[in-house]
Symmetry: C2
Subunit: 350 residues, 2 copies
């Protein structure tokens, strides 16, 4: 059977939650083959200060100290240029911007970027990364909906890049051909994460399938093709950010019309085998190392001094199935592809 | 409170199912204010012969004899021109075409129309209506998906109309601006049904909400606007066909990733109040009578000799809520807008 080695896989977009759920899911980063996780700040309450981010990092390290956690702050009106300087000195890597109301715990998200220009100015000066959830809120009066919400966000990306050409920006979890083109058209300071599930799903897959529902929603087959193509061409500004987003199993199922399903797909525990299988499916297995490690690490300046550089060995397998769920201490989460056959497994790391 | 009267409401697209489920849902046609129901033939096995259609009609009449049931056959290779003549003589009104695999019990659906031309020729000769489920199957290699499946079907509608200009055709449950335009561009033999729920929902409403999932899926806000506009302008070839489609409650909920949700929204028991409320919401309450009765009856030749012409009186109300579900004999179905306030109620019929 085929075997492949990957250097120190890094996931540049992960949700690890809080409390009991964090205790359950945090070890899954390593289980999924990864030794670096870039952590999203949309907790309750959101991580808006350096002190909160450091406390959260300590909480995660107490659960699993073998993974490097890169921390972020939640962009909000409370964030000041002074706090940015302080955060940078404390090793916090980025600031995440959520448009208001478009995903999990984004009620405090932004409505307009101009008020944040002093913060962005400070971020550019100290070299902190701006992570963008690139969707505008739905609005039926302007025909804005979950399918075009990302494309309509792209002018914001371009104007931010123009206003702050040295500010490093990551368009997170891109789902459209338009987003791929927009990021490509930007300079070297603008990069883009792509999730594993958006390489697999299209709109047909979440129609009536709430476990495949996430934000941004998976788009059309041609958009999925664009994500696959940019990985095949090994574009160095496109790399993995899984957006692995665990939710309690009951909040993903819909048993009544009043119960909306939480947006999010959980890939952490199977991430590296999943990405290998997907890249293999469209002829890009030879791009695995760049996509899941080198490109992201280089953009984030983590390529040279990897503290513990590890090789993760994957092997093709048969009759291996994704777990139906993971449980612990009263929490249950259901992974992507639950119960489905997966053709790669991690056999060693050293 | 405002009051309004409607003459003999007619629903030109209804699923009443079989057995216990039929016993539960058939009386809901009248409960919802309707005295005529145009019955879909996608049973197991599908209704493909005159004899089956008549037996099914007798089954429905045994449950509720107060409603007029117009019957249809399921288009399949078994259907012959001779059977069309026989069906017409037996009072069967139409033939329903399902593209293969796009909705409930459509595995026996069609792949190409040309092989059916002799049947259509016979239908045109005896004046039987062709009812089209207007979607092409999804195909990622051609970027065909649930959102553009209807628009890509429209060339089939136009070529059928061109080949059989005197054949009366109904494009069922239209969801797009493109479909409205295509039907308008056709001659007087081509009409179009619109459901209640497609006047309410857009893609955002079924994202993560399986009880709002149906086929064709609700489209973008601009498409919904087109459906509303054509009702506001009282176009006589656009009329109500609810596509009310009951499914057992458990088949609508998603408790595991493997459990896909059945496509269909159940509106029968609240249909006339729901349509009144929706039309009122976009300033078209004065079009109610045309949309739910006159236009469809005229197209189907049921406008003159209504057996028992009834007036249904609706009144605006407050603090009135849609039932959470309806149960009977082990079957449970959940209506559209379950638990939600509805502002109109039926107060009388005479």
């Amino acid at each position: 059977m085929a075997q492949i080695s990957v250097s120190s896989p890094a996931d540049f977009h992960v949700h690890l939650r809080q409390g009991k759920l964090a205790a359950l899911v945090t070890p899954h980063v390593r289980k999924g083959g990864f030794s670096l996780a870039y952590i999203m700040p949309n907790l309750k309450p959101p991580v808006t200060t350096t002190a909160q981010a450091l406390a959260y990092k300590a909480e995660l390290e107490a659960i699993d100290p073998t993974v490097e956690y890169m921390m972020t702050l939640y962009l909000s009106p409370d964030l000041t240029p002074d706090e940015i300087v302080k955060a940078k000195e404390a090793g916090i890597a980025g600031v995440k911007s959520y448009p208001r109301g478009v995903t999990t715990n984004s009620d405090g998200g932004i409505e307009s970027y101009e008020m944040y220009y002093p913060v962005f100015e400070a971020m550019q000066r100290v070299d902190m990364v701006l992570n963008l959830h690139g969707e505008v809120p739905s609005d039926s009066t302007t025909n804005t909906h979950v399918l075009n919400a990302e494309e309509r966000f792209l002018p914001h990306l371009l104007s931010l890049h123009k206003a702050f050409p040295r500010l490093r920006i990551v368009l997170e979890h891109a789902t459209t051909r338009a987003a791929v083109s927009a990021v490509k058209a930007c300079g070297p300071t603008v990069a883009c994460t792509i999730t594993a599930h958006h390489l697999a799903l299209t709109v047909d897959d979440w129609a009536g399938q709430s476990f495949n529902f996430c934000k941004p929603v998976a788009k059309y087959p041609d958009d999925r093709a664009a994500l696959r193509e940019v990985i095949k061409e090994a574009h160095p500004r496109f790399f993995l950010g899984s957006d692995s987003a665990p939710h309690p199993a009951q909040s993903k199922s819909t048993s009544t019309p009043a119960q909306g399903c939480a947006a999010g797909i959980y890939t952490s525990p199977i991430l590296l085998p999943l990405v290998a299988q997907l890249l293999d499916s469209f002829g890009a297995l030879n791009r695995l190392d760049g996509f899941v490690s080198t490109f992201g690490r280089r953009f984030y300046g983590r390529d040279l001094d990897i503290p513990q550089k590890t090789q993760v060995i994957l092997r093709q397998t048969e009759k291996h199935f994704v777990e139906e769920n993971y449980s612990g201490d009263g929490e249950t989460v259901v992974p992507f592809w639950a119960g489905k056959e997966i053709c790669w497994e991690i056999v060693d790391r050293h």
